[in-house]
């Protein structure tokens, strides 16, 4: 592969128990020749010991001891494979236990989601949940794989029926790009190689789709946002007065000479240099890590945000978020949490739970006020000082928060700013 024009694509896989998700991942890795011989040998031996017919590709994704013993996936696992066109990171999320927590985690960084549906069962409640979470987390591309086509004699009308079911439901969701592919993960049909059993399907194969989905425009290129992580001050003989602001561009493009404003102070200046160890850059865009120096000596520290003066983030102490509760302990009403938003940290109170969402029917439950693990709600939060926010729909980095419980230090909630 040519490094210089090869991109990274992160995708998540969601499916219910037994709909062949592990088999599909195993198939992708196997057919793209990403499984090593010693790994294949190990799962071949296990398959024989367990009495399976042939090699059980699903075994490849087993990780922890408990998972192997219980035959389930407990936690998000990350897998990697590369084709001549792209490098892929798979966030493999379990279908049942703690599904919301794990899928939200995997979805948060994904460019694409694969949602698996068993052709025999069609759209079920879990499918709706997965699609809802994918849309809530604003995964730009959703690929719906209708799996186990071999078990329905590769019939086109069954596939069409499932597609119609999904489309009816997904019209209520905010997803930009949905595609459908009929596959058999077990036999490999339409995963990497075109199926001879389904000549009626002429669309893209799964791997081809993953390799060619256009992802460059998924990143917000308009709103220039640079959350400052740390200040670089060498105070060395070579760089006695250097003062650089280190961070990763969250969105947009910064150019040398740009008029900028530091939020929340409101001080203005111009970008003097954009530095990396390899030398100065003319511009920096998301998701590059750079160091910015300014023309004027103004106080900037971690938690501040550099923006272009003609396009500022909103500074607000009262924010509305879609909140996912991630921990066994229910939310404590009116108690304080630490809120983290980009590199900024404040205290926060959950002022109000506006409504909870019944994740199966997508209906709002305005009278339910208790937040438990895996619940999703709309909430109002007040922070001690203003956060510098954008809506999550416009900006996944400056539009997301987590809540941390000060008593346990655990991450208890993930939020998307409305």
């Amino acid at each position: 592969m040519n490094i210089n024009n090869s991109q990274l694509l992160r995708f998540t896989t969601a499916g219910s128990v037994d709909d062949g998700k592990s088999t599909l991942i195993g198939r992708l890795l196997y057919d793209s020749k990403s499984i090593f011989e010693d790994q294949l040998e190990a799962i071949t031996n296990t398959s024989i010991n367990k009495g399976h017919d042939g090699v059980d590709l699903a075994l490849f994704t087993d990780g922890l001891k408990d998972e192997r013993e219980q035959g389930i996936t407990i936690d998000v696992a990350y897998r990697y494979f590369t084709t001549p066109k792209r490098k892929f990171i798979i966030a493999d999320t379990p279908g049942h236990i703690q599904y919301t927590r794990n899928m939200v985690t995997g979805a948060s960084t994904a460019n694409a989601a694969i949602i698996l549906i068993d052709a025999r069962h069609g759209v079920i409640e879990q499918t709706k949940r997965h699609a809802f979470i994918a849309s809530l987390l604003q995964i730009p591309h959703i690929i719906v794989c209708i799996n186990k086509m071999d078990l329905v004699d590769f019939k086109e009308e069954i596939y069409d029926g499932v597609v119609a079911q999904f489309e009816e439901f997904s019209s209520k969701l905010l997803v930009k790009d949905i595609r459908f592919i009929p596959i058999s993960a077990l036999l490999g049909d339409n995963v990497v190689h075109r199926s001879e059993n389904m000549p009626w399907y002429q669309g893209g194969l799964l791997l081809y789709t993953l390799e060619t989905i256009h992802i460059s425009s998924d990143i917000n290129k308009v709103d220039a946002r640079f959350p400052v992580q740390t200040v670089i001050r060498p105070q060395s003989a070579e760089y006695p007065d250097y003062r650089g602001y280190a961070g990763r561009v969250a969105s947009g493009v910064f150019r040398k000479g740009d008029e900028i404003t530091v939020m929340p102070s409101g001080f203005t200046s111009k970008i003097k240099t954009i530095d990396t160890i390899a030398g100065e850059l003319k511009n920096a865009f998301a998701p590059m890590s750079v160091t910015i120096t300014l023309e004027d000596d103004i106080g900037v520290s971690r938690g501040d945000m550099i923006v272009r003066s003609n396009n500022k983030a909103e500074a607000s102490q009262d924010i509305e978020v879609m909140l996912c509760w991630l921990t066994h302990l229910p939310a404590k009403p009116a108690s304080k949490y630490t809120i983290r938003h980009t590199s900024n940290e404040q205290k926060a109170i959950i002022k109000e739970i506006v409504y909870k969402i019944d994740i199966n029917s997508l209906s709002r439950l305005p009278n339910e006020k208790e937040l438990r693990m895996n619940d999703i709600c709309k909430a109002r939060i007040r922070t001690t000082k203003p956060l510098l926010i954008d809506s999550y729909r416009e900006n996944r980095i400056t539009g997301s928060i987590i809540l941390i419980d000060d008593d346990t230090n655990e991450t208890v909630a993930a939020g998307m700013i409305v």
Partner: protein
């Protein structure tokens, strides 16, 4: 091609730099766990980029089993000098002398598992609240479940079933006194990515990674280097072979592969054509199916 296009290696680099800067901002006394292997070398290189033009603000910490390749130690000392960083060494021999741990016995005895005690003791003595490691998720199945910011309790233990969820790029390094974090900035890199990066950046690595002639013994399906620490059985013979190492650990457990790859170009080509995982030559991972997970739970790297 799009003007604002970042290739995957640049994106991985940017992600790692972001993580290293978060460590610096969130912890009091972080160190880089340095083994002398390619991953910790790349990590150190990334730290240099992250804080340029400042020096690397972390000390390097090495757990010295005493069973080293001499090349590793001289490489380490040279790097410390060039980078101008502090070096902290924890000696497994000290832990043995103090009676904290006992040597394994027999032909296949190693000091691999003994490192855990020395590692945790060194972290505690130096009041380290974050140990940055070069672990990668593609290395091994239990590592596939590892977080970027991975919590360790006051006993240094990892609880894989009870990890903090990690969303977007919001890392939570909060911890109580006596607990610490392991942070893995190159989690998302694969072996191939590491080699492509070393080649692209022209990063210096120990000569052991290049094909060279060495006296070796065939044991546990790989070529183990002969050394003063190796107990040879009467029927075992030594051979002179042209080999190189895919990973570097203790000299007693690191198996080499026969290779002609004596340049980075050739190594990258060779790795791309490899049909076995890199840790397949590590006898520490072969002890059981869950050898890595078991050690990680106790506090291993």
């Amino acid at each position: 091609m799009n003007k604002y296009f970042l290739n995957y290696l640049d994106e991985l680099e940017s992600e790692s730099i972001y993580v290293l800067r978060e460590v610096w901002a969130q912890f009091q006394n972080p160190v880089i766990l340095f083994s002398g292997g390619k991953d910790s070398i790349v990590l150190t290189h990334l730290a240099k980029k992250a804080f340029f033009p400042s020096k690397i603000p972390f000390a390097l910490m090495h757990v010295d089993t005493g069973h080293n390749f001499p090349e590793t130690i001289s490489f380490r000392d040279e790097l410390v000098k060039v980078m101008g960083v502090r070096l902290i060494v924890g000696y497994v021999q000290d832990s043995i002398d103090k009676g904290r741990i006992a040597e394994e016995k027999g032909k296949n005895a190693t000091r691999n598992a003994l490192q855990i005690t020395t590692l945790l003791d060194t972290i505690e003595t130096n009041k380290i609240d974050c140990a940055i490691g070069g672990g990668r998720r593609d290395e091994e199945k239990s590592r596939a479940k590892e977080r970027f910011f991975s919590h360790r309790d006051e006993f240094g233990q990892w609880d894989p079933k009870n990890q903090r969820p990690e969303l977007w790029n919001l890392f939570n390094g909060k911890h109580f006194q006596g607990e610490h974090f392991r942070v893995f900035p190159i989690s998302n890199w694969t072996e191939m990515d590491i080699w492509n990066y070393i080649k692209r950046e022209g990063i210096q690595i120990p000569s052991l990674y290049y094909a060279h002639e060495r006296e070796v013994v065939w044991r546990n399906d790989s070529w183990i280097p002969n050394s003063e620490f190796l107990i040879l059985e009467s029927k075992e013979k030594t051979y002179l072979k042209k080999i190189r190492f895919r990973t570097l650990g203790d000299i007693t457990i690191t198996g080499g592969i026969e290779s002609e790859a004596d340049t980075l170009e050739k190594i990258v080509q060779e790795v791309a054509a490899m049909r076995n995982t890199e840790r397949g030559n590590r006898s520490d991972d072969k002890r059981s199916d869950t050898a890595m997970e078991d050690r990680k739970r106790q506090g291993y790297f």
